[in-house]
């Protein structure tokens, strides 16, 4: 340690304060650090004659890549040297240079610290005066990565230094026992004593800091760039990959619905791979698609292979031409949760307008994990789990069922005969089959294994990950859903940092052989039906001459759904001049789907001669490329920073597919290919979608106080006819970080405060391709008609429709208190969609069900969103953090010219939400007749009771605790809503099994109940049909609170982990959908349908080892 001699010290004392400041300022470490060089391992060759040591070090640095840290004074004092070295190692070179000098060296990491060799003369110091020392050091994060730009202050003075981008700093002439205050935007402020021996090693101070937990300064991905929560002007929410991975789910979106305000995620089925419906801030379009735009690593994800609308009115993007147990599969099951770095949800105009005509429904940015600088790490993670449906309806047994049937016939005054009641009169009424146990009795299993290798140096980073995921359903039979995935990432930059290149590629393949139908649909099989299998194990099709639709028929049918997804992106950038950069982002994406569904004769009935084996094949490939040249310029302007971005976007999506229906196989063994079939029908689909745009963005940040962001885009889409293709979109957003104002010093509790607002226009082109062209298609019959095929009009064309416009207003307030321990975000938004692109429902009399057209209708979505994060306890060994969010959406139809003369007259009303449905008023069960009373059954007149089926509010509540190596977190998800009760469309009493809840039926005059009398036919059945389809009796409170996720993990003590040479060993146990609190009676409140598999309650255990 270069301690100063006593006389120097005394001289110092003589200096005036001003001088001292000047001196320290002058001496503040001139950090002679240079950008690391590429020649890290090369040999050193020096030929120096009477050169200064510093110039020689410079040369060594260039050749070796090592940084040098030294006091200028001591080097000057050492004088010049002459050395002649040829291809020697670093150590030899340093030895040679410092020979005969009063200097020694230490190599710490990639830094060479030069210090004076002078004998440390312990100064006879006066008690009041501590010794003065120089300090060199580096600020690093907990994981050892350098923290750039942190400031180091000497406590009690105004003196200090700031660390360079490698975290290096130097302070000269400070008191030995001085306390340093280390602070920075992204680290927690800490105080360290300089002479704390544990930090000081060979005169070099390594200060470990904690990265801030409040996430205010965490990087947030936005359109064409990144920002931080602190500096963002738009409404952006982020969920990290780590949070997602706490949930053992195959679809990452199932893990974020409870965490992001304004994001409405609905699971459509509990079967693996089921589609998930996603809306951001409500349904913004009356007719066009309302799903957000998905962008993965900058490449818009081509995922719209199909769209399915479910019984409860929600729609979801799906893959699939053939139906299976889940109504198609979600394209996102091909997105491996463990490859995700983060998911950002962009909600307001400021954040989304740069996506122009596709930003109206919000944008979801998915960023995959990138390789990191540092030691090569190997991350192994395995888990396995067990699951059962959250709830299954309890069905009647034979005794209850036959009693119901007899009572129904009695009520109808009909005598059961072998003709009208073969189940009672012909079949055995004592045998009992529990279909639920047979078909849905298994425990679902989940297996997941992931391996990841990542590492690199300053220039080049590489990562490679691969994994396998398998889920099996609760269904009877051997079914599974498997996914294999591969993800790689490579990035490189030149030593001068001017050119950067990054390449991402991932491939994933998902294959499932789940049944073609959801077996929940078969639960209504009657309990005294014959045994489904005979003694030889064959399916039984009739009993005593009465046909039996065997529920196990599905075991003979095969479904194979294979989907593959290849995503790749290339990003290149070059710094032309300081702050000026040109970039080229490109991406390529293929989604392929290959489905096979067989229908062998043996699955259709016993008399095989009348049944034909057939199979359907559906193959589709979507190829999508995008090219986005961009230029950005960043400069300091005044007290602020200005960023300008201009760019263009060119995109093409081609989708081509064939559906082959093949019939007439000679043998069922040949069913898996279309070739051997006698006749084949092929239906082809083809669509090309092209899209281009120019866009620009200007953002200015004045002194981290005033932020402004202006973006604009002009883009064109091939989905519109000539003259309608182009549209202009843009937004302006502004933020005021008032906590950085001087007057806020008087409110020390408030550590951060920002007001932001934005306004802008985005668009929506979510309609099918070619809708403006009149299309005539070929008929698709197996046999031609007299040798010819037909051609028929396929659509009603409308060449005049154009963009749907969505105007968005947004105001947000962000606050943080007590050193960011509590942070709060409140948002209000108001979106108005006009020029509505409506798939206008038409009566069949015009020949088609709909036509695409723009309407002057205005739809408004507004709402409040709140998010609170708190750090309740933060102790050395124990911490407790909570997060709560709630969204209160509102939807209103503001205007719809001439509504009463449209097909929506009976559906919508001005001033009301469009999520309203109208119902006949239900008036209870008539105590004298036992039949449902309805206020009329004229559907056009009597449907007058409006019921809003949208969510009133929803949100999540998360808590996480950490105690030493343990961490526990749990997350609740709550939804307040009205929805449809799950019930059957067949009246109780008919030849269909029913849930036991119908036993509360009306039995005799005077009974007061909510379930009408059992009936097999007649007015009671008709009334039941109106009741079940059109009355408000079926609208019920479907609110629920669900313990969506619970995760308990234990991280082994490092010393134990080291024994197996591991960096980190973690064992964990996770649970999904563990508890549900609801008033909902039969079935699951999230699914709201009788015959759809409810979500699974899943418990997993796993281990993660990082080397």
């Amino acid at each position: 340690m270069p301690a100063l001699k006593t006389r120097d010290y005394r001289r110092h004392l003589c200096l005036t304060k001003t001088l001292l400041i000047m001196k320290i300022t002058a001496m503040l470490m001139v950090a002679f650090t240079f950008a690391a060089s590429a020649h890290s391992y090369s040999q050193i060759t020096i030929s120096a004659k009477n050169k200064s040591l510093s110039s020689v070090f410079k040369s060594i640095k260039h050749q070796s890549g090592y940084d040098f840290v030294y006091a200028v004074e001591s080097l000057n004092k050492a004088g010049n040297i002459s050395v002649e070295l040829h291809n020697v190692g670093l150590q030899d070179a340093l030895e040679a240079c410092l020979k005969d000098k009063e200097l020694t060296y230490t190599v710490i990491g990639k830094t060479v610290v030069i210090k004076s060799n002078e004998k440390i003369t312990i100064p006879i110091r006066e008690p009041s005066l501590p010794s003065i020392i120089d300090v060199q050091g580096r600020i690093v994060s907990e994981s050892g990565e350098p923290v750039a730009g942190a400031s180091v202050k000497i406590k009690g003075t105004s003196l200090g230094a700031s660390a360079d981008k490698n975290g290096l700093f130097q302070l000269k002439g400070i008191n030995e026992d001085a306390t340093l205050i280390v602070s920075g935007t992204n680290i927690e402020t800490i105080e360290v004593r300089v002479n704390q021996s544990s930090l000081l090693k060979d005169g070099f101070l390594t200060i470990r800091t904690k990265l801030k937990v409040n996430s205010l300064d965490e990087t947030v991905v936005i359109a064409y760039g990144t920002t931080t929560r602190r500096l963002a002007t738009g409404a952006i929410s982020k969920v990290s990959g780590e949070e997602i991975r706490k949930n053992p789910v195959d679809n990452p979106f199932l893990a974020i619905g409870d965490k992001i305000p304004g994001l409405q995620v609905t699971q459509t089925s509990g079967v693996a791979g089921a589609p998930v419906s996603i809306f951001i801030r409500g349904k913004s379009s009356l007719g066009a698609g309302s799903e957000p735009l998905y962008v993965i690593d900058g490449v818009p994800f081509a995922h719209t292979v199909g769209s399915v609308t479910f019984s409860n009115g929600i729609s979801a993007q799906t893959l699939g031409g053939l139906s299976n147990a889940t109504n198609g599969s979600s394209p996102f099951v091909n997105l491996n949760p463990s490859d995700i770095e983060s998911i950002e949800v962009l909600k307001d105009a400021d954040a989304t307008a740069i996506y122009g005509s596709r930003g109206a429904n919000g944008v979801i940015l998915i960023t995959t994990r990138k390789a990191k600088t540092g030691k090569t790490s190997l991350d192994l993670n395995f888990y396995t789990g067990w699951g059962r449906p959250t709830c299954l309806p309890k069905m009647m047994n034979t005794q209850q069922y036959t009693a119901m049937r007899r009572e129904a016939f009695k009520n109808d005054s009909i005598v059961p005969t072998t003709g009208n009641a073969s189940d009672l009169m012909v079949w055995d009424t004592t045998r009992n089959t529990d279909w639920e146990k047979i078909m849905l009795g298994k425990t679902a299993r989940i297996y997941d294994g992931q391996v990841r290798i990542s590492g690199g140096n300053q220039q080049t980073q590489v990562s490679l990950a691969t994994g396998y995921h398998r889920e099996t359903p609760v269904y009877y039979g051997n079914m599974h859903d498997d996914r294999v995935n591969l993800h790689s990432n490579f990035s490189h930059k030149t030593t001068d940092n001017r050119f950067q290149i990054a390449f991402n590629a991932s491939y994933s393949s998902d294959k499932n052989n789940l049944s073609t139908i959801d077996l929940m649909q078969l639960l209504t099989s009657i309990p005294n039906a014959p045994n489904p299998l005979d003694s030889a194990g064959n399916l039984v099709w009739s009993d005593k001459g009465i046909n039996f639709t065997n529920p196990l028929a599905y075991t003979k049918k095969q479904y194979i759904g294979l989907s593959e997804n290849m995503l790749s992106s290339l990003n290149m950038s070059y710094n032309i001049a300081k702050g000026l950069r040109v970039k080229l982002d490109g991406g390529f994406n293929i989604v392929r789907l290959d489905q096979t569904a067989t229908n062998p004769a043996s699955s259709q009935g016993s008399s095989s001669s009348s049944f034909i084996s057939s199979a359907d094949f559906y193959r589709q490939a979507q190829k999508n490329w995008i090219l986005e040249p961009q230029t950005d310029y960043t400069t300091k302007l005044g007290k602020g920073q200005l960023q300008v971005l201009v760019g263009g976007s060119f995109q093409q999506q081609v989708s081509a597919g064939d559906k082959i229906s093949a019939t007439g196989y000679t043998n069922d063994a040949l069913l898996l290919t279309p070739g051997p079939a006698a006749t084949k029908t092929v239906t082809s689909t083809y669509a090309k979608y092209r899209y281009d745009a120019i866009f620009g963005r200007l953002s200015y940040n004045w002194d981290t106080k005033y932020l402004i962001n202006i973006s604009g885009r002009r883009d064109g889409s091939s989905r519109f006819g000539p003259g309608k293709q182009f549209g202009n979109f843009g937004a302006i957003g502004a933020g005021w970080i008032f906590s950085n104002e001087n007057f806020m010093r008087f409110f020390p509790a408030l550590s951060y405060g920002k007001l932001r607002a934005s306004w802008g226009v985005t668009g929506n082109d979510r309609i099918g391709n070619y809708q403006y062209i009149s299309q005539w298609l070929s008929t698709s019959s197996a046999l031609p008609y007299q040798g010819s095929s037909g051609i028929y009009p396929y659509n009603l064309d409308n060449p005049d429709f154009a963009w749907e416009r969505n105007k968005k207003w947004e105001a947000g307030l962000e606050l943080a208190f007590f050193k960011d321990r509590i942070d709060l975000t409140a948002d209000y938004y108001l979106n108005r969609t006009d020029n509505q692109l409506v798939g206008l429902s038409l009566p069949s009399q015009v020949g088609f069900g709909y036509v695409n057209a723009n309407r002057d209708a205005i739809l408004q979505n507004s709402g409040w969103e709140f998010l609170v994060n708190t750090t309740n306890i933060r102790k050395k060994d124990f911490s407790w953090r909570s997060s709560f969010n709630i969204s209160i959406p509102q939807n209103k139809l503001i205007a719809y010219p001439d509504l009463e003369n449209t097909s929506y007259a009976s559906v919508w009303s001005i001033g009301q939400p469009v999520t309203i449905q109208k119902y006949i008023q239900y008036q209870g069960v008539d105590p004298t007749t036992g039949i449902y009373k309805l206020n009329g059954i004229n559907l056009s007149k009597d449907k007058i009771e409006p019921r809003n089926l949208a969510r009133t509010y929803y949100g999540g509540f998360q808590n996480s605790f950490a105690y030493k190596g343990f961490s526990l977190s749990f997350s609740f998800y709550f939804v307040k809503q009205m929805g449809k009760a799950s019930f059957l469309y067949q009246a109780p009493g008919s030849r269909t099994n029913q849930p036991v809840t119908v036993l509360d039926r009306w039995q005799k005059p005077g009974d007061i109940t909510d379930i009408q009398r059992f009936a097999t036919t007649g007015p009671a059945v008709t009334q039941y049909s109106y009741w079940a389809n059109y009355s408000d009796a079926i609208i019920t409170n479907t609110s629920f609170i669900r313990l969506k996720n619970m995760s308990l993990a234990y991280q082994l003590d490092r010393s134990i982990a080291r024994k197996i040479k591991a960096e980190n060993v973690r064992v964990y146990c996770q649970g999904q959908n563990l508890l549900t609190f609801t008033h909902y009676k039969v079935g699951d409140p999230e699914i709201m349908a009788f015959s759809t598999m409810p979500p699974l309650k899943m418990i997993t255990v796993g281990v993660q080892v990082i080397f």
Binding site: G545, L637, Q775, Q786, P793, Q986
Partner: protein, 486 residues
């Protein structure tokens, strides 16, 4: 304090100048890029038509393509699955009309059972999807006929003969669709163009006007059509239009017109001097066929053959009612030739067996019009005219009876002859195109015959019409529901 401020401002100024200098170059470059890209932008988003389609201006340009447009109707009528998007053809009228007329019942328990039950019970609800399919499919074909009629008007590059043939077929098909719509639903919107803006809010047109259009279209079709344009009788000809015209006159009690139309078909002679044997009637190329459709589905003959005909000894899915079985007179050969019994132990397990071929080579075509009906039309038209025409009416009836192996009718006067004809039509046309359902309605006999047979007393005045599908009223607020369903 002042000095640093000045310096600051200066540096800001310099910065601005610097930026201006830099952005000058930048702007030039950007402008250049944009000018180039702008012109290519438009080109880029103009995509060519997909290879899977033709556009409307490429249809009526030659005989072959235009004919394919017409064929699409016949193909889809035979290809569409009844229930999901089935039309009058493909079993829908035979099965559902049969259930409404108490000819047959559905015996299986499945999710469609309640929908079938509504037909049997005369308790149809406006949301019944099978009723909805009748409506929507009728109008689907009507749209195509309208598109063809207007397309032919401006056609280029087509021969006059084909133009006339197709125009005749299109008008015939339009009348055919309206015939069933007006019979099933009563007043229906009379849509004669393809302009959705004009048609989307059209209210129901009075049935009389629809009938006027039907007869006008059929007269036009008769004029435009001549012989069958191809071998076999798979596309309507002059006589097909006449057959539907005869039927339409009969339905409107225009007895003399009905008689003369039917008479001209019978006396034309092209469909045989008499009636063929019972087991020949439903074979392809049966001599009495006036128009039949060719099956187009894989490994299926007619949908009736595969759905109604029951193999094995189980209870048939579509079971004929005891009431129908009892309607056959002793020794009626139609009971032995056209009715199947699946299990001798259960004599009630009867099913329609007119069409017998299921999978395998195509031996049966789907009969739409056959000569027998013209005999019965002429007979009924003559019976109603009474007087000297009663005997020829009885002769016509006996032609049909004798083919079935029955003795001459015992009817002696006009009322008994008319009832005998009703009975004859029941056993002749059961499970065929919903004949009985429409017959009982046109003769105002539905309530008298069917109401007592309905279980649970669900028959209401007006039940002889199906409800306007709920979805249609929802999409077109100008449509008014039929009385029995209010």
């Amino acid at each position: 304090m002042i000095i640093p401020k000045i310096i600051n401002m200066k540096s800001t100024e310099n910065k601005i100048l610097h930026i201006a200098g830099q952005s000058g170059r930048l702007i030039t470059a950007v402008c250049l890029i944009f000018t180039i890209s702008f012109s290519s932008c438009k080109k880029f988003v103009t995509v060519e038509n997909p290879p899977t389609i033709l556009t409307s201006d490429n249809i009526f340009v030659d005989d072959k393509t235009a004919t394919a447009a017409m064929l699409s109707i016949y193909i889809d009528m035979m290809n569409d699955q009844y229930g999901s998007n089935g039309s009058f053809v493909c079993t829908a009228l035979s099965a559902l009309g049969g259930m409404s007329a108490n000819e047959m019942t559905w015996t299986q328990n499945n999710t469609t059972a309640p929908i079938y039950q509504e037909f049997t019970d005369h308790a149809l609800t406006p949301p019944n999807t099978y009723v909805g399919a009748f409506w929507s499919d009728g109008y689907k074909y009507i749209y195509r006929t309208n598109a063809i009629i207007s397309g032919l008007a401006t056609a280029t590059g087509m021969t006059t003969a084909t133009k006339n043939q197709l125009a005749g077929e299109a008008k015939f098909m339009r009348a055919f669709c309206y015939f069933y719509l007006v019979n099933l639903f009563g007043d229906v919107p009379l849509v004669l163009t393809t302009d959705y803006k004009q048609n989307m809010l059209m209210p129901r047109t009075p049935a009389a006007d629809v009938w006027k259009q039907i007869t006008a279209d059929l007269k036009d079709a008769k004029n435009l059509l001549s012989g069958y344009p191809t071998v076999e009788r798979l596309r309507p000809n002059h006589w097909t239009a006449g057959a539907l015209l005869a039927r339409s006159y009969l339905y409107n009690n225009q007895w003399a017109d009905a008689e003369s139309e039917a008479d001209s078909i019978i006396t034309f002679g092209g469909y045989g001097a008499g009636l063929p044997a019972l087991d020949k009637v439903f074979l392809k190329n049966s001599p009495e066929t006036i128009w039949q459709l060719q099956p187009v589905r894989a490994n299926v003959n007619t949908p009736e053959g595969s759905l109604f005909f029951s193999l094995g000894s189980n209870q048939p899915n579509y079971q004929l009612t005891q009431q129908l079985i009892n309607a056959f007179e002793p020794n009626d050969n139609r009971k032995t030739k056209w009715v199947g019994f699946s299990n001798p132990a259960n004599p009630s397990w009867a099913f329609p067996a007119k069409y017998k071929a299921g999978a395998g080579p195509v031996t049966e075509y789907y009969i739409v019009f056959r000569l027998t009906e013209q005999y019965l039309i002429r007979s009924e038209a003559r019976a109603h005219q009474g007087g000297t025409k009663l005997q020829p009416a009885l002769d016509d009836l006996n032609v049909v009876r004798s083919r079935a192996g029955l003795a001459a009718s015992t009817a002696t006067d006009q009322p008994s002859l008319i009832l005998a004809l009703e009975q004859e039509r029941q056993v002749e046309f059961f499970a065929e195109w919903g004949h009985r359902w429409l017959d009982l309605k046109r003769t105002n006999r539905s309530q008298a015959v069917l109401a007592p047979l309905a279980p649970g007393k669900t028959w209401k005045p007006g039940s002889e019409l199906y409800p306007i599908p709920d979805l249609e009223i929802k999409s077109n607020p100008k449509l008014v529901q039929n009385g029995a369903y209010l």
